[in-house]
């Protein structure tokens, strides 16, 4: 059910996410503790290529990582297999990517 390639993709995206999660948590703490308003946050992120790359990479890694994880769960716990299993995995991945990419685009360039 999990091939070597899927296993590696999930591990590599986990490695990518580890520092990004810490960065994301730091940003949350900084923004709330510092009392930044939504307008101030958007003012910093708008037009910022570094923030686009930071959260863009995050969304990309999350989409792959979570889709493979959901694949394992629905196979072992719900018995899905074959084409249905593939569809659920890809739909989860694309769905998460669409939601995340839309949010990243909105705070950086929209």
């Amino acid at each position: 059910m999990l091939s070597l390639r899927l296993y590696l993709l999930q591990r590599i995206t986990a490695l990518l996410m580890a520092p990004l999660v810490l960065g994301h948590l730091a940003v949350i703490v900084y923004a709330t503790q510092g009392g930044l308003s939504a307008a101030e946050i958007l003012g910093r992120t708008h037009g910022s290529v570094p923030w686009l790359l930071f959260y863009g990479t995050f969304v990309f890694a999350v989409s792959i990582h979570a889709a493979i994880g959901v694949r394992a769960i629905v196979h072992e716990w719900a018995g899905l297999k074959g084409v249905v299993l593939e569809v659920v995995m890809w739909a989860t991945g694309f769905g998460l990517f669409a939601l995340g990419a839309r949010a990243v685009w909105a705070v950086t360039f929209a």
Binding site: M1, L2, S3, L4, L6, Y7, L8, R11, A72, H75, E76, W77
Partner: protein
């Protein structure tokens, strides 16, 4: 012993929970779970089917679920597993039931074959005997796993096998790991490919039930972790 008789519940039939029978079995000193099952078969119900051979923890025939836990019954003292004065004994988990406490071991051994769990020799009878360096790191790694008695306790304990019947399971994968570390085995590529397929080592969630319940004290979880490392290394080398 709190009583002269033990209340022994035996799960019989494929729908085990609905096919329970209760027996009163005389309690003795140093009595094993297998002794209890044998008493039932010999003195209470001769139609009870179960499997055993060596009675000394070598053959791996007598594994059963005891109070929901997979155990080698010939080396398990009943006094250690009694719940009050009762015990429930059932067929091994994760394998098809043939009758009563007897399961079909074919899927278990088929997985050994699927994991390339056989010797891949490269020498002929005309070659000198291959010398094995007992102190090498690989040999120490192999030695850690070769005392498996094929009892299927780890296979029954594994929740990944329960949820994913294709998964090769801890015993077969540990066997593959010992071969990978055996200097005499020349099937490295075949083994790595066999454990990288759909039911391969990458399905393991490292929950560790195999290592926790192995009656021989082996550590299949670490063996599977070794396979994950080796298959990853081998993949990256091929990509380069």
């Amino acid at each position: 012993m709190t009583s002269k008789f033990l209340k022994v519940t035996i799960e019989r039939g494929a729908d085990a929970k609905n096919a329970q029978q209760v027996f009163d079995v005389p309690a003795h000193e140093s009595q094993t779970v297998l002794d209890v099952v044998s008493w039932v078969q010999q003195f209470a119900d001769p139609t009870l089917s179960y499997r055993f051979a060596c009675r000394v923890g070598m053959c791996g025939s007598c594994a059963m679920m005891v109070n929901g836990v997979p155990r080698w019954t010939c080396r398990t003292h009943i006094s250690k597993v009694l719940d009050g004065n009762s015990v429930t004994i059932g067929p091994l988990r994760n394998l098809p039931i043939i009758k009563d406490l007897v399961v079909d071991m074919d899927p278990f051994f088929d997985k050994w074959v699927a994991a390339e769990g056989m010797h891949h020799g490269g020498l002929t009878r005309d070659d000198p005997v291959a010398l094995v360096d007992e102190t090498s790191a690989a040999r120490i790694e192999a030695n850690a796993g070769i005392e498996c008695i094929n009892c299927s306790v780890c296979h029954a304990a594994c929740d990944t096998v329960a949820g994913n019947p294709e998964y090769l399971g801890p015993a077969a994968l540990q066997r593959a790991w010992t071969l990978l570390n055996d200097a005499r085995d020349e099937g490295r590529e075949a083994v790595l490919d066999a454990v990288s397929g759909k039911g391969g080592c990458h399905n393991c969630h490292s929950m560790g039930s195999c290592t926790a319940y192995c009656p021989s004290g082996l550590d299949p979880m670490s063996a599977i972790a070794g396979l994950k490392r080796e298959t990853t290394k081998s993949f990256l080398e091929r990509v380069r």
